[in-house]
């Protein structure tokens, strides 16, 4: 079993937030530490004025059925799942300092779900030996 999960959340389309939520929650249930590094196009969804992630156009034919199925199962949103995982497990969310700087975002602009703004070196050092997942 992995020492921990290091998830690099780069992509911003809605479908990518599902594995983020499921993997984070599952690791939290197992008592496995999770460190999420938010960068690239995922950044806007971790700010205070976060938009709703949109599904990729390429898969739009599949989306109505997907949304209907998730509604039928009363599936919480990705945000609520990750928030709950933070409450039950050892989950930390870091925003990439380069992206924050480039997009002109400060700590106070970020969603309360975010723990801190850090650089790649800190992330790499604190997740040494972890299984890395790039989303």
């Amino acid at each position: 079993m992995a020492k921990g999960l290091a998830i690099i959340m780069f992509t911003g389309q809605a479908e990518y937030f599902i594995p983020l939520a499921v993997l984070t929650q599952t690791a939290a249930n197992f008592g496995i530490p999770v460190r999420i590094f938010v960068t690239g196009f995922a950044l806007p969804y971790f700010t205070k004025n976060k938009p709703e992630p949109r599904f990729s156009k390429e898969f739009e034919d599949m989306v109505p059925k997907l949304e209907e199925g998730m509604k039928k199962l009363n599936m919480p949103s990705w945000y609520d799942i990750v928030k709950e995982a933070k409450e039950t497990g050892d989950v930390k969310i870091y925003v990439c300092s380069l992206m924050a700087e480039v997009m002109g975002l400060k700590k106070e602009d970020l969603d309360p779900i975010v723990d801190d703004i850090v650089g790649a070196a800190y992330f790499m050092q604190t997740t040494e030996g972890y299984q890395v997942i790039f989303i």
């Binding site: 197992f30 008592g31 709950e84």
Partner: protein
């Protein structure tokens, strides 16, 4: 006195049932019995993995009428 805790996770999708089980487990005392009901098709292998991971005892695992029932004894808590 050991208690029997029923966790109804029917009509919940992955990772809902395991999350609900984990929450119940956190509150459980050594010797308690947790009975989980689930309809998620991945629940059988998932609950076996959970038991393996947490070191508790799986007393029963069966499926009846589309409902999976897992009975777990809390043995890994001191």
């Amino acid at each position: 006195m050991p208690e029997k805790i029923v966790v109804d996770a029917r009509n919940m999708a992955c990772p809902g049932p395991i999350t609900k089980l984990t929450k119940a487990y956190r509150k459980a005392k050594p010797g308690d019995i947790i009975e989980v009901l689930a309809t998620d098709p991945g629940f059988k292998p998932d609950v076996q993995a959970w038991v393996q991971r947490t070191g508790n005892e799986l007393l029963e695992l069966k499926e009846e009428g589309g409902v999976i029932k897992a009975v777990i004894k809390v043995t890994a808590k001191k």
